[in-house]
Amino acid sequence: MAAKSSPPTSAQFLPDAKPVAPVSVLAETGKLNRGAKPGMTKTAVLEALRLMMLGRAFDTKCLSLQRQGKLGTFAPIFGQEATLVGTAMALDPAHDWVVPQYRELPAIIRQGQPMERIALYRQGHPDGGIIAEGVNVMATQVSLAAQIPHAVGLAWGLKMQNRPGVVAVYFGDGASSEGDFHESCNLAGVVEAPVIFVLQNNGWAISTPRDIQSGATDLAARAPGYGFPGVSVDGNDLFAVHKVTAEAVTRARAGLGPTLIEAHCFRMGPHTTADDPTRYVDPADLERWAKRDPIDRVQKYLAAEGNWDKATEETWEQDIAAEVEAAFEAASAHPRAGPEAIYEHVYAEPTPTIIRQRDAHLGGQ
């Protein structure tokens, strides 16, 4: 990249020759970096670990159901657990919001959305779209980057009303190429909205690698172009992600506006269950990133502190599996939806056209 900047230029804004070192707290070995602090209480670390394991277990279950043909296409979170949970744990679910793309399961669960709803959604049931009363999340977003403007509006609205909330909006490296990313960051910078842009750089947008996605060395480098800070963080490091998010939350609550977080992680699974990543992902990359596993890392850390062992792990895994199982059972017990569901919730009150069409349809025409 340095070569790109020659011949000499008067330009005051030059791209970095190489990426900055992402913020890091907990090394791949599970040991804290020299002088670093976890920045989370033991209880919080355990809660975070549980959420990460739950997220992974939920998707593992879904994967097996999907293979049995019992579930639709979905996007598993494998490998991105620390980014999702580290950010979510820095939020206060009572006031703060999570605005997801489609790969943010544990963040949504942490906000209070019942797992059963998520199971229902994955089963293709319209009621899977219901947001439980008082839960501060928006619906799964399938149109890439389209949720980012919503998040800015939410944050701006909370600010206008002097409400305490902060909004965390999630999206991928791919989504960051969409115009909506730019328009949103720019508006947020102008109105100093309390919003945190969580760019999950997992290396891929389906089969499109990061270097085809952008010529920038760091996507976090975009933030100054909107007037707010950008931070690059090791996305597989729970503590580092939590730390930079907590800082962003503090800034946002203090009225200092947005932060862009680029979390470097890796999509360890397929893009969705419809995808075959062996066609394009280098197994060596998977191996390298497997060594940096976010869950493993926290377990090692806890074990070194004497707070984790094989037995605990097994108990947790059983509990979590049971919880996931229960969610799917509850979802399966939900009454199936019929054709009338198509005509509901189009408008607050059905229009004459909808009533005519519904009556014809349900009347067997």
Partner: protein
């Protein structure tokens, strides 16, 4: 009552509703300090402050998209899109996002948002400023579409739109902003959605129009009257919801029908009106229904736009031809 033009009626509705409901905010390009490029929001920022009448960056998609977030926090955004042609940049946010949020969440989140926008030709604007694209939005289930033709309806439909729990695209005939005037109550009133207005009673042929095409239809009816033809002119007022009963009644009354609109013919909303009537009033029809529209070409340069916009003479000719059909 007061004599107002379209812009004044719109402004009067905005002011009234902002006073009545403090959740209502006005946002868009140049709506604040300037009061809008057509002055529809003139004086509102001075009155309500810059936290309720908001100049935004120049970015239609995030204007629409952030309004959805604002609505979820309980605000009631009224967006001005400077010209309808520039809503294409926000098409996905309007048609896929705000229109469907209720459906997607089974009513958990809703979008009480009004998008106001001028459209239509005849005032020598540059490219895109005159585009009529109501039909492109009509395919977006979840969105309502209101298109007032006179100051009374402009105020009443706008108040109804802002209070409607669903997103409403509220389109304003640019050409009529100052030209079309009428008596408007100073007080609060609404015009319900989905009820067409009989503009002129007639017995021979029904002329269906909306927004800026209504005065054209009226003038055509006058020309027709001189030829001894009695035209029944109706103004749809809202395309979604459509006044199905009213439409059928209006056409059954005469058995003949001409639809007038300013957008291109192909897949325009006139096609929907005719298809609907053909299904629902077939046996009353004595002649083929006709459309008078812009040709299937892009809106042209100002020097030739007068050849592009449907004229009263063209409508009158279509009326006469319809009468001649056996």
């Amino acid at each position: 009552m007061a004599e107002m033009n379209m812009v004044e009626a719109i402004r009067s509705a905005l002011k009234l509703e902002m006073e009545r409901d403090e959740r209502v905010i006005v946002m868009g390009e140049d709506v604040g300090h300037l009061g809008g490029v057509f002055r529809a929001t003139d004086g509102l920022q001075q009155f309500f402050g810059s936290s309720r009448v908001i100049d935004t960056p120049l970015a239609e998609s995030v204007i629409a998209g952030s309004a959805l977030g604002l609505a979820i926090t309980g605000m009631v955004p009224v967006i001005e899109m400077q010209f309808l042609g520039f809503t294409q940049q926000a098409f996905h946010q309007i048609c896929q996002q705000m229109s469907r949020v209720r459906f997607r969440t089974r009513g958990s989140h809703t979008a009480q948002i009004t998008i106001r926008s001028p459209f239509g030709g005849g005032v020598r604007t540059p490219e895109f400023h005159s585009d009529s694209m109501e039909a492109q939005f009509a395919q977006s289930s979840g969105l309502k579409i209101a298109m007032p033709a006179n100051p009374y309806d402009a105020k009443g439909l706008l108040l109804e739109a802002i209070r409607d729990p669903d997103p409403v695209l509220y389109l304003e005939p640019l050409r009529g902003y100052r030209l079309i005037t009428g008596e408007v109550p100073r007080d609060d009133y609404t015009v319900p959605f989905g009820r067409l207005r009989v503009v002129r009673e007639g017995t021979d042929v029904t002329v269906i129009a909306w927004s800026g095409a209504v005065p054209v239809a009226e003038k055509a009816a006058e020309i027709a009257a001189e030829q001894g033809i009695s035209a029944h002119v109706v103004d749809l007022r809202t395309l979604v919801p459509l006044d199905e009963e009213g439409l059928v009644a209006a056409v059954e009354k005469t058995g003949r029908c001409v639809v007038v609109h300013e957008s291109v013919a192909l897949a325009g909303f006139g096609a929907e009106v005719i298809a609907f009537l053909q299904e629902q009033a077939f046996y009353s029809l004595e002649a083929p229904m006709r459309r008078v529209t812009a040709p299937d070409a892009p809106y042209p340069m100002p020097g030739i736009e007068d050849f592009y916009i449907p004229t009263a003479e063209q409508v009158a000719r279509a009326i006469a031809q319809t009468m001649a059909d056996q």
